[in-house]
Symmetry: D2
Subunit: 258 residues, 4 copies
């Protein structure tokens, strides 16, 4: 089962999945009671290059060599999957999905929510906090959004300053933990003793989504404009989905780089 | 427009609403092209007491005095609204809704997410942090869940200890802000300079939901088992909705206290 | 795998499911990394009767005999499942679900849509149409809604009239099919040749929903107020879910009959 | 208020809307408490042509002439709206929406369901049925999907055959209505007397969706591959939304024709 370690203490792993590329085809072809017929193309067809489709003016039509019994060009259910994908037939892609478990800093989780399509449940963890590496700190504007960059008038970050920031982070995390423990012992209710805990603290959640919902999530979170820490989780999710639904993810990747 | 101050620096206010109790009726009665007919009951009917419905064995049926032209018991669209509500006809209640703006500590927002029905967008704020009052700290297990209570073996919280915790919270918040500002000046990218900011920091969001979704939210968040800080927001939302959709909220309240 | 024949030509069958009662527990208890601990109660406990919970004033609390190591009353994860259920913690119930295939008259499918929580895809079928049995026709107001009943001033339905209606239905269906075939042969496009096909024609669909969504569907469609033809499908779905998630469905049934 | 007559007896009209292009901006810019700042561009800027953005390698960046106080190129909130749109920030587009009322043949409504984002409620109407015009019948494969075309071996449709089909449709509709009325009078329950009514019968519904959901609907239903009868409704909806949210629809149209 897919599991990947991420950042200093995080991970993303598969809990359970349902459906498959083949099940998406079956759902779409239910009317004919044919179900899934089989993959397989003739990539050597010099008209459609195995895509089964060519463009005639503005419309995509079947490869002209693919018709009839002894067609020179055969293509299997890739063609239907591509058709569903390119024409935004979303429902079949809701017939498959994945439940995952994620351990990440709280500020990463904040980016998972507000998604209509996803459902999740999470919980804080014992004293475990995110400290970016020096390399990560020096990466700076690895992406181009304003919120990622430095403030106007800031010094140029040096390796020494980065290391000092890491030390002050560690101190801050320790201090927060001490205040937390001390408050607990004094009789402060648990839910109030933790109001000062940092958003860099790790937490763990389960999230479920259908394939359509997860791909919408990837579109936004794998973008170069997303914060690096979010992106590493999105990329892990992408690879998890590519193991489960390789043909759909291949169409997704193709569309994105078009 | 509804606006209420909450906690030490928070608020909840209406941005915009759509629909009404009357529109819910119109949506449900669209087929007959009659639309909304009017409120009004005869609460003096000694059979149904103005509810328009009585129970006959296991079934609710129309008040036997309400049929025919010169019926002794008349009831207006309250009856239809009640019927829709009691029989879980959810769709009409999706024809109305509200967009709100909320300022609250981040840990409060965490409870708003994971709701399929709601959509929201939020953002952190300048140095503004939640410090519970002494009264709130002494309230302790105001509700009965384990996560709310104190840890085993804790001392009994005294007013002095509560005040000391408030001071240590304030210090912790100040320290976090200093580390943040200092990191920004040294050239740490903004998105990394804030990983240690506390979950008690205030943030602001807009959230939109239809009436059905918001009522599901209230069911969970107005519960005595919800954390006090969440509950004050849920109660403000309840009152906001009661201004906009008084008859629906009245049915909601009635059902909940049954 | 669950499959049930319904009406004259219909069925409802399981395509695939995910999650389980145990997975719901695991999702809820993720924080402690304990996962699912095991079912098992002491139904002979004379305080809580195996429910693990008793009511103290208005609140449900743990059975007083269940605490401590050598507790006289032990209860397993039923207690947590019940807690989640009774306190409307919906998210864990979204961690399980089922994909089904349904063959039913088009007018039955119309009742499946408009559900936010469900996703479906369906398709018309060759000449196969619903003809109610005489028993069904004579059942009349088996439920009490107006739309189910007869019109004012109608005769009382006799067995003979019911049989005659069945014959006229069969004739109407045959006529519709003939007009359809004839139009196709004359060159009327398929999508227009079928505009007069009846809503009693069978169609087939796949629908996917998480457990939370399906239970909301059952609440509405198993009601005595739902049309008989819908109800037989809802009841089959109930039994399918009860095979997959017996403990959750048991809580659902208990709540409904309360 | 927007209202358009469609097909022979149908229409699509606005019931109520909420939000606006400006509200989308406000939601996105809530953090800065700036809200909506104003529209307005310098379309004469010869670098960005008023878009406020240019592409540098693979990334879109601010127009280099737009920075600083006396910038040669100013652009207002179009820039932010475009940024939100192009980077798939969907949440702000959920802060606006529209409730519509639609009268259409039942088979058209079937295409509106199965949409997660939309909620609707509909009802059948008195004897009112769809009869395609001769022009529509002769239009034939106005789009290229198989389900639209004629069957293999069909004759070529003549005007005479089209007129004959229209007459046989009218007869079929009349016959269905007679069987319905006769069954009602004989005492057949209403819900069974209508099982043979045609999918071409008109019905009416209210549907609500946020802007994000409606745009996803348009993407699929305005496509040349959608059936003509669906498309006329989708186009009316497009024009309704363009009146309410002109700048967002302009970005939508631009993206679609790219």
């Amino acid at each position: 089962m897919f599991e990947r370690q991420l950042l200093d203490h995080g991970f993303l792993r598969l809990v359970e999945s349902y459906g498959s590329d083949e099940a998406i085809i079956s759902a779409a072809r239910m009317s004919t009671a044919k179900g899934f017929l089989g993959w397989g193309t003739r990539p050597d067809c010099d008209v459609c290059r195995g895509k089964g489709k060519v463009y005639d003016q503005d419309e995509s039509i079947d490869c002209p060599r693919s018709r009839g019994e002894n067609a020179a060009c055969f293509s299997g259910d890739e063609k239907l999957l591509r058709y569903l994908w390119e024409n935004a037939h979303a429902t079949p892609f809701e017939m498959a999905g994945a439940i995952i478990e994620v351990q990440a800093p709280i500020f990463v989780f904040r980016e998972w929510f507000g998604y209509n399509e996803l459902s999740s449940r999470y919980t804080p963890l014992p004293d475990m906090n995110y400290v970016p590496t020096v390399e990560r700190l020096m990466m700076g504007g690895g992406h181009l959004t304003k919120q990622a960059g430095t403030i106007d008038g800031a010094e140029t970050l040096t390796v020494e300053a980065a290391e000092e920031y890491r030390r002050s982070l560690e101190y801050t995390y320790q201090h927060a933990e001490q205040v937390y423990q001390s408050a607990l012992n004094k009789g402060v209710p648990k839910e109030l003793a933790r109001v000062h805990l940092p958003v860099g603290r790790y937490s763990r959640m389960r999230a479920t989504g259908n394939l359509r919902g997860w791909l919408a999530f990837l579109t936004l979170r794998q973008s170069k404009k997303a914060q690096y820490e979010i992106r590493v989780y999105a990329e892990a999710l992408h690879d998890l989905l590519a193991e489960l639904f390789p043909r759909t993810l291949s169409l997704f990747d193709e569309g994105r780089h078009a």
